[in-house]
Symmetry: C2
């Protein structure tokens, strides 16, 4: 374990506890992560994950929700606890990490800050402060795994969408192309999504079929 360059703050079992959020979205066909720029040392000016110490009486999850809302204005999205790291910052603190999935359409990045938050494609991240790189990689692995057996994608899409849109989201997250027919079959047979009521008219001027998620909250199979 690395030697702490700072005096210990950990007597009595009391520790600084922070929440960190890896916020994902899919835009321009790519999976993207939200990063902010640090305005204070250490790592001043470096890109890093949104997060910070818990407020008095606040739970780690509440802090994650608060950070998410502060940075993106979005609430009521998929949020899941990832892992709890120790000493990410070299000061003996504990960081509870989360990942969130947001629909890029609804997000308005807070422009109030001097150095505003920005989306970065996961494949082209800048150097990150602390050990945030690790955290992003961990989150990405988890997200990809969950895609296979849960409905996490619901919060990346509008309430109604076409199969093509859904498939593009999956492809962006997995980073590889999928077969259209197999994809459709799987989504339907898992009961993940269902066609909207709007019957497709036969004959001329038939609009594409729209689908919705059966459940717009976390489900695991």
């Amino acid at each position: 374990m690395a030697v702490s360059p700072h005096p210990p703050t950990s007597a009595l079992g009391l520790r600084p506890v922070a929440a960190l959020v890896v916020i994902f979205t899919v835009a321009q066909g790519q999976l993207q992560v939200l990063l902010i720029r640090r305005s204070a040392p250490p790592y001043e000016g470096w890109w890093s994950l949104p997060g910070g110490l818990l407020s008095p009486n606040e739970s780690p999850q509440a802090a994650a929700v608060r950070k998410l809302e502060e940075e993106t204005g979005v609430t009521d999205v998929y949020l899941e606890q990832l892992y709890t790291f120790h000493n990410l910052d070299g000061r003996g603190g504990v960081a509870v990490t989360y990942f969130a999935l947001v629909n890029g359409e609804q997000v308005h990045l807070s422009p109030r800050q001097e150095w505003p938050p920005r989306w970065f494609p996961v494949a082209q991240l800048p150097p990150l402060a602390f050990r945030n790189q690790e955290v992003v990689e961990y989150a990405l692995g988890r997200l990809r795994a969950k895609l296979g057996y849960s409905n996490v994608a619901y919060s990346l899409l509008p309430p109604q969408f076409t199969m093509g849109q859904l498939q593009k989201v999956y492809e962006a997250i997995l980073g590889r192309p999928l077969d259209k027919r197999n994809f459709r079959r799987r989504m339907l047979s898992l009961g993940l999504v269902m066609p909207t009521g709007k019957k497709a008219r036969l004959g001329r001027h038939r609009p594409p079929q729209l689908y919705t998620f059966r459940e717009r909250r976390p489900i695991v199979f």
Copy 2:
């Protein structure tokens, strides 16, 4: 969220941080959990999971290892972070939980304490302090899931074992019987275990074939 009956200890983002360990073993054909009795209020005299606040400069994982060693004398076993709970004790603390798997043969429960630790079958737990019941259930779900795609069982068994022994461990954890032939085939074809070098002599007096885990450290597929 429940109202705290105690004054908040959470100003400045400093919180009490504890580690809790769900220690599993398989004995008498049953999956068992190690519990201790609390010697102080609240919940004095109730059964609960081993754990406690971090020592100065100690990481949550190190605290979990320490607790495990204190209670069972065992070291170098499978240990995995589970989930981080908030306010388990109603005092606004953060509890990082772990689960561990130990081979019952190697364990010598510390008898030094007035109220010694004891194994309980998971199916027959006594009432537990705080919300430890939740933690055990969470751990059990995770353990069962991991059994399917990892080699976690290695630390529940001696270095060499028969297929029958291995199968009994799986059955105890899953709580249902398995088919002998399918089980053997799967273990071998997944490359989880391999026969020991000792060639089975043909003819009379052939001892049962012994197997070992290919890797005695955490592997996930």
